[in-house]
Structures are given as C-alpha cells and as structure tokens.
Symmetry: C2
Subunit: 333 residues, 2 copies
C-alpha cells in the first residue's frame, strides 16, 4: 500500500510503498481509505515540528472509506460499512478539556494519507448517507472544531449575529454553514474579495475585507456589532474584534494564522462582560452531535479542490498559498 510519510520539518512528504498490516490490534478495524483531507495543523507540523522521527509518520486526520476487516469476533458485521473517522484520539473523561493522552490522528499515530488505516473501532462512525466519500472526508476535523466552537463554547442562540473571520478555511466555512442552518445571521471577513463574494452567495448577511483601511468602521456602521465571534487568526486585529463585540458577547478562537495577540484592554473585557474561549477539536459526543447536525440539515461541505494522493505535496502548497475556499481533499482509491 502507498503512504505519505513525514520525516521532520521543512521536508516534503515522501510517498512510499509499504506492506499492508496483517495483524489488527484489539478492537481495531482495517479501513480501505477512499478519501482524506488536509488540515492546517499538518502544515504547522511540517513547518515547526523539530522532534526527530527516525521511521517517519503517516500524517492525516481526516478520512473516509470502507471497513475491510475487524479484529474482534463480534465486529465482523462491520465489514463493508462505509465510514468516516473521528480524528480526536484519547480525549478522556472531561468534556471541558482533552486529557494528556489526547492526540490528533496522524501524529504520533499513523493517519489517513495512505491506502489503508488500522484504527480502533471507537474512532469510526457511519458515513452520513447524503454525503459521498469525497464529501465525508471534508467533514471530521473542521466540522468538529466548528461545532464545539459555535455550540459548546459560544452557545449560539437562534437569531444572533455571528462574525466569522478568515472565511474560506474549513472550520470557518463549517461554522458559517452550521450558524446559517441554526438560523443565526452570519457576517464574514477575508482579505480576498473573491472569497467574500462566494460567502455572500452562500447566505452571509455582510462581508468585510480586512485589507480595506477602514474595515472596522465599516463593520460597526453596517453590522452594528456581534453576539458571537469565531476567530481563526489572533494577531493585531483581535483587539478590533473585541471592540466589535456586543456587550456580553462570546468570542471563540481556534487558530493562530496571525500570531500573538498584542494589547488587550482589561477594561473592554470587564466593562463589556466579554467571554473569550479557546477551543480545538472536541469530544466523541460532540463528534456524534456534529454528524447528526450535518445529516439533519443535509449539509454538504465546501470542497475547494481534490488532489490524487500521489500529488499530496501540491495539495499542501495550495493550502500554504491560502487561496483555497473550502477543504482540500485527497482522492485515494
């Protein structure tokens, strides 16, 4: 089978032919992967991960496929099931925060950039039937992160005004689709006019280009303020987000594309009674609720483009340019 190995930072992934597993660990299933999807955290790892990995690791958190084998006698009925993988591994018992045992599928455990994966059946869920394998692979990590951000952390209520920054990213787009399905009003930011137009076509109530000099004034004028803000960036503009927040607003951050946040005003925080939540991934319960929500509202992911597994480095180059609108998916089999 083919697998894309990561050997340390600043080197491209290496596609290798390796032997299929013949022994499955306890309660594991063996999945022939149909599709995978790439995520920012893999790109961060490829830029920052300095730990040495003599044998290399197969990256990849998102995947969909068909179960071809199951270790346990009682699990043989799973064979042939069309599934999607929960990339949140070893969360633990506290819904508020992941345990020390937590990891994201793909490091240190081998991930989905491969023809096959052997994984605990606890990580595997039925593919929502209205989605193709390609679409299903675009759901897990981004959908889970967006779901926890919007519902568990911000506790979004119907009719509220939501600002989502950096529209075009996988989490931002799921957050937008979830919020719209939940009957909230969604406003978005981006540095790309093209992305803003696409978001408008999807149902955004207003769009703002943060490269405009007076985008903050423009938002305040046109939107007034926001009950909920979902931010992927941090950085110097974060403080502007706090100014746009309505009193009592909830601000959720799940990314760091713009780096450290300088100069937060305590007075803004306490006088406006703001709540700031950091969030990443989610629990198994949240993963299930998210799949239910996607199915109930018949939501389909926005897919930017699909690359064959053999061209995985092209897929990451595209992500690094930041021009994608939606998930970048890999076609495996």
């Amino acid at each position: 089978m083919r697998a894309a190995f990561f050997h340390g930072k600043d080197t491209p992934l290496t596609l290798k032919e390796i032997e299929n597993s013949s022994n499955l660990a306890k309660d594991h299933v063996y999945i022939r992967l149909k599709n995978a999807a790439i995520n920012h955290h893999e790109l961060w790892m490829m830029k920052e991960q300095s730990e040495s990995m003599p044998g290399g690791v197969i990256l990849g958190s998102d995947g969909s496929g068909i179960i071809e084998a199951a270790q346990a006698e009682d699990d043989q009925y799973l064979i042939g099931k069309e599934v999607v993988i929960n990339p949140s591994v070893g969360w633990g018992n506290n819904p508020a925060v992941q345990a020390h045992s937590f990891s994201i599928l793909g490091y240190p455990a081998h991930g989905t950039f491969s023809d096959y994966i052997s994984i605990s059946k606890k990580q595997v869920f039925e593919k929502p039937e209205h989605l193709s394998f390609e679409e299903a692979a675009a759901v897990p990590l981004a959908g889970l992160t967006a779901y926890r951000a919007l519902f568990t952390k911000a506790r979004l209520r119907k009719g509220e005004k939501v600002l989502i920054t950096g529209i075009g990213g996988g989490v931002a787009l799921w957050a937008m689709q979830f919020a719209l399905a939940f009957e909230a009003r969604v406003f978005v930011t981006s540095g790309s006019q093209e992305k803003l137009e696409k978001a408008l076509a999807m149902g955004a109530s207003g769009t703002f280009n943060y490269k405009d000099e007076n985008w903050v004034d423009k938002i305040t004028k046109e939107a007034g303020g926001f009950d909920v803000i979902i931010d992927s960036a941090g950085g110097p503009q974060f403080n502007a987000l706090l100014e746009m927040a309505y009193p009592g607003a909830r601000v959720v951050i799940y990314g760091r594309t713009a780096g450290m946040i300088p100069d937060i005003s305590p007075k803004t925080l306490f006088w406006k009674q703001l709540s700031l939540f950091g969030t990443t991934m989610g629990t198994t319960d949240e993963f299930l609720s998210m799949l239910d929500f996607v199915h109930k509202h018949q939501l389909k992911p926005i897919i930017d483009s699909t690359f064959p597994l053999d061209n995985i480095n092209d897929a990451f180059n595209k992500m690094d340019e930041g021009k994608q609108f939606g998930k970048i998916v890999l076609s495996i089999s």
Copy 2:
C-alpha cells in the same frame, strides 16, 4: 447635611454643607448613612474623569444606614430598618451584561459620601444581622464583584484550586473568603510580604510575591496549576497567569491596575481550552445571593482602616498608596 463633592479630575473631594432633601421621588427611601466605603473606581474617576460637572456629584457606592423616611404610603413600615445599599443601578433584564442604563451608584447619581441619601427602595436590602454598620458598608461593591467572578463566571467547584492576584484589595479578599467558605483551595499573589502573611493566616494554601524574580517557577513548583484564576490587574503578568492555568481553567478579570495585556498566545488559549471572562459588579439576584452567602457562612469583611467622612481625602490617599489590606471604610454618623 455634609456631603463630599467631586468636581472633576485631579482635584480633591470637597466637603460641603447642603440642605437635606424634603421631597422623595416615587418609591424612594431616605437613609441616614452610618458608614460608607471607598472603591478603586472612584479613584480612577478622580484621576481620569474629564467630563465637566458644574454642580459636582457626591461620589460613593457603598453604604449602610437606617431608613428615616419612605415616599410610598405602603413603605412606611421600612422606617427604622437597618439596611445596606446595592450600588448596581439599572442593570436591566439580561443577566449576562448590564444595560446601557446601568451605572454605579455615585456617578451620575449622588452616592454615599454624605450624611443622607435618597434612593429607590429597590436598591436597599436588610443589613445581615451578624454585621455591624461598619462591616456592612464593606460588603456591597466588592462582595458583589467577587461573587459574580467566582460563582457566576468561573462556576467554582468545591475542592478546586483558585489563584487570586493582588490580595489585599476588597474584591480579592472577598473572593478569597468566598472561595474558602466554598471549600476551594486558595493561593494568592501580592507584591507585599506583609499582605501575603496576613493571607496565609486567613487560610491561604500558598502565597507568592510577584516581585520575586522567579515567582512563576515557584508557583508552578509549589502549586502545580490552577482551575480558577481571579485577576485584578491585567498587564504584562497576565500571560504568566495563562501559563499557570490548568487545561480547561477559567480566568476572570475584573480590574486593570497593571494596564493593557500584551502578547497573549492564541495557541495557549485554544490548546488548553481556556475560558477568559471579563466581569464587573452584578445583578440584583447576585447581590441577594451574595448577602445570603455572607450570612450563611457568617463571613465578616476585612477592614483595613476607618476614616471619619471629614477626612475622606486621607482615605483616598491611603488607597492610592496601595498599602491597604481590606476595605477602607468611612465613619459617617
């Protein structure tokens, strides 16, 4: 009657003799004040308030006294009641955040630095019977702020580890007393060894002097980390607090004695699933719950010192020096 008027920033308060009110507004009561207490927000106002106030305003948020008159026919039974005043005026209907109508007693409405106050009966509550007037005046603003921070915002649970910064301030001390009564473990910081020793005598499990060069290492070594952090300061040390927070911790900020917060790491926020809450004052329900809590646990405020109303500027000078441990109270009648 005497009253201490504020006429604009950088001027001391002026004690004047004015006429007693003869007409009470609808549903108001007339209280002969026994004690008041001073608060940091008055000090901020005396340093920063640039709005002009031709007639001046009587500052003062905290007060206790005896009702001498009531406007409504049905309220005559209130006469003679020993009461404490809720300084949270016009909070509105949303418990999450104060309405635009909100103000803190003492500006723009005349406050408690006076022999008498005329105030809506909705702001007035029975003095907890185990407290003297002097003690009761040290409860309202600080107790309400601490109660909301610890219970409504951080949702403290029994047995959790709480870090309270700047011990010695009114809110910090109430937060410590409430947390101890709630069977949490309390750790405190201060720049004063004397204050730390007093906190230790009150039941703190550990104390840390933030003037020590390696106080952060010391905390990490001795306390491990914290479930809840209650901060009065902001400023450059705030980021260190986030590092000391356990994953899933709740960090509440209610003050700004150290100014703007530089350099918050989004990765720390999201990977540790931190929650940050700004908070100030509270609702009428919270005020009542706080009084109940104080009564149930028979808590008494820590009073640093008591000044006669005539020497109110000395009281503020003492606060400005930052050497107090506990509330600075005014004795009125």
